[in-house]
């Protein structure tokens, strides 16, 4: 009987690792002058207009969420903190950069009937289960940094009807990366690694497809899990195919392990390394150390020649407000997402004689999807039927120094393409 404690312990460990799901439903309604099939938000005169964020603001990937949250805050400040005479109130939840965190945050927000619209999420893995929960409650959400292709794929289904994004689709990022490797570096044999997240898997898939179409060979398509630390066996397997380039568009912790361990595996000493925007952060330099020098990253192009003078003004505001450089590349996308939402609200909101404001949820969603030639920081945004609004500009950067203190995108890592 002594042995029976072991299964109990295992079950307990599994329960600790698991999460719970609960999905509420939204009513349809007529309130005041507005009738809407999904629902109506009524904001009494002088009451705040609530916008929610759901972003990674704690944990190892907090730089990503803090960065986009600041984009939203600056957008609100630019409006003077007010919209249609109501003060704008920003509330939010942390999402943890995983599916469970996305579900928890979306469920909590969907219980709050005052939320007009949301900005988020950060990681695609959060949005996949989270966006349908929000839309079930009638909350439309605009993501500043989800890039997985499947979120705006034509077969994404009606549960994603309330989901849009100002971030680029990885169909673009993966293609640019493959073209850079094939045409600029003139390498012909590449291997890819993903970590099972929708973001990494999508990006690795697009890269493989484009690289093969261009005439290159993909020697291995490997996968790891994000908590793995010993990458050497997997890298030894990749080495058997003798690739010139290893492309691993994953996140900071696992990406750091791979970067450090690649050179220790025989047969990969001369392989070039490339990651994507998920690791484009000074934290990655800390994780990878000196091994990161010479490595390539694809990321949104934030150079002055790509974004124009408005971005310079934004950066000055950012510096003044927070006293530091942006922490990740998606703050302008968040700024644009917030402004797109404000424009759509202004378009559909109706006031009654007493000064109360009414916003139809379906009408707001339709107005957002109808966004056309919207002048934002990241370019001219036009939303398509499936929620892709970005004006994507992707650049390739090369790391010159692994010192996190010398982080200054454009100079170090240096922009090398286009």
């Amino acid at each position: 009987m002594k042995r029976s404690r072991i299964p109990i312990a295992l079950v307990l460990a599994l329960m600790l690792a698991g999460g719970q799901y609960f999905v509420p439903a939204a009513p349809a309604a007529t309130v005041g002058p507005v009738t809407d099939p999904v629902g109506v938000v009524r904001i009494a005169k002088g009451a705040p207009l609530t916008i929610a964020y759901w972003m990674v603001v704690a944990g190892p990937d907090a730089s990503l969420g803090t960065d986009t949250k600041r984009g939203v805050e600056i957008a609100i400040a630019d409006k003077g903190g007010k919209l249609l005479g109501h003060p704008i109130r920003l509330i939010g939840e942390d999402t943890g950069c995983n599916a469970e965190g996305g579900v928890t945050a979306a469920t909590k927000l969907s219980a709050n009937k005052a939320i007009v619209a949301a900005v988020g999420s950060n990681c695609s893995s959060e949005a996949v289960p989270g966006a349908p929960i929000l839309w079930k409650a009638g909350i439309v959400t605009v993501s500043p940094s989800n890039t997985a292709p499947k979120l705006t794929a034509p077969d994404r289904g009606p549960t994603y009807d309330g989901y849009l994004r100002t971030a680029h689709n990885d169909k673009v990022q993966g293609r640019v990366a493959a073209e850079f490797v094939y045409k600029s570096l003139k390498l012909r044999k590449a291997a890819t690694i993903h970590d099972g997240s929708p973001y990494a898997e999508g990006l690795a898939g697009v890269f493989t497809e484009t690289f093969r179409k261009l005439g290159g060979t993909v020697t291995a398509q490997e996968a790891i899990s994000p908590t793995d630390t010993d990458m050497r066996p997997m890298l030894t397997k990749i080495a058997a195919g003798r690739p010139d380039m290893i492309y691993y568009p994953i996140f900071i912790a696992a990406g750091g392990h791979i970067t450090r361990q690649v050179k220790e595996v025989s047969g990969l000493a001369n392989a070039k390394l490339m990651g994507a925007d998920g690791m484009f952060s000074p934290d990655f330099m800390k994780a990878a150390g000196e091994a990161a020098v010479g490595m390539y990253h694809s990321s949104p192009d934030l150079s002055p020649e790509a974004l124009g003078p408005a971005y310079k003004v934004f950066l000055d505001k950012h510096q003044k407000r927070y006293g530091e450089k942006p922490l990740a590349p998606f703050h302008p996308h968040a700024y644009d997402a917030a402004n797109m939402i404000f424009a759509a609200i202004t378009k559909v909101a109706k006031k009654d004689a007493a000064g109360n404001t009414y916003i139809g949820r379906k009408a707001l969603r339709d107005a957002l999807f109808a966004t056309k030639n919207f002048k934002g920081l990241t370019g001219t945004l036009t939303c398509d039927r499936f929620g892709d609004c970005a004006d994507p500009k992707i650049a390739i950067y090369q790391t010159l120094s692994a010192d996190p203190a010398k982080w200054d995108p454009g100079k170090n890592p240096k922009k090398v393409y286009p």
Binding site: D228, R232, P233, M234, T236, H257, V265, D283, A287
Partner: protein
Amino acid sequence: MQRSWAWRLSVTDLYLWAFRIVVLAVVIWGTIGTVAARRYGGEVWIDFLVFGMSQGSIYALIALGYTMVYGILRMINFAHGEVFMSGAYTAYFVAAAFGRSGYLDRNPVVSLLAVLAVAMATSTLIALLLERVAYRPLRQSPRLVPLIAAIGASFFLQYTFRGFFGSGFQAYPETQVLKGTWAIAGVNILRTQAVVLVAAVLMMAGLYAFVMRTKTGTAMRAVSEDKEAAALMGIDVDRSIVIAFAVGASMAGAAGFLYAIVFKQVHFFMGFVPGIKAFTAAVLGGIGNIPGAMLGGLFLGIFESVGPILFLEGLGIVAPYQLKDVIAFTMLVMVLIFRPSGILGERLMAKKA
């Protein structure tokens, strides 16, 4: 009257036999497929083995702590992964300080030994506090109670470290002497991994000698066999328990240091996965059995490194390394089904009966 064996076979037995045959067939089929493809030369297989052994010896060092505490208290110390984490964190702080002053590269042997000693001491201290504060008051309660206390202690330690040192990770500094490879018997082995293997083997040998040869070790074994009888023989039971915690924790502290020099990333949540894996290793080898924990750890490390490629690639599964954990836990399930007491567990049970 003795019936023929076919009559004595129950449905469950038949099912288990079928299960055994299926798993064995899958393993053999996959192995043949991989070997027949001849994608990997002999050197590559040796690399796989060495990678697996160095990871496995870290698991083994942590597993020792689970097994010693279980052996003596019949309790699973779920906070042991955090004891390991505290060792790694301490190793980082000391090594970073040495790195900044340049001492780490001027006098690598002394500084590495100092880092190791401090890591082991911190882990030991934390485990002793845990024992005194969280476990000793509950020793007379039903067994599930200290188990839950251990889980609580695990969260407490994790979030204490998070509160003090932040939720991000720290990068353990590079040591110049440990860069590159050594050629040992014609095989190029990474220096860090050679150090890990040698250190782990030395420490496990020392522990084994301590438990089997010294008076204190004998007392510990006596307490683990029968607490009351040992107390009647004049053995201080509390002291033996404290020593078991201390020795197990010092091994975890050493494992934390070795982990830090191999993987270089230290953060508050790092103890969770290695803790679960080491617990698996302890069960695999037969929990409560010290050589079993060592064997289980090495076994698990080697299977994780070699398994995906040997069994799964031959079956035509793409990206087999994503299924590394599946291999590890399938092994655990197999052992629990067919040999519930673990690889070396039987002997111990027989002795106790």
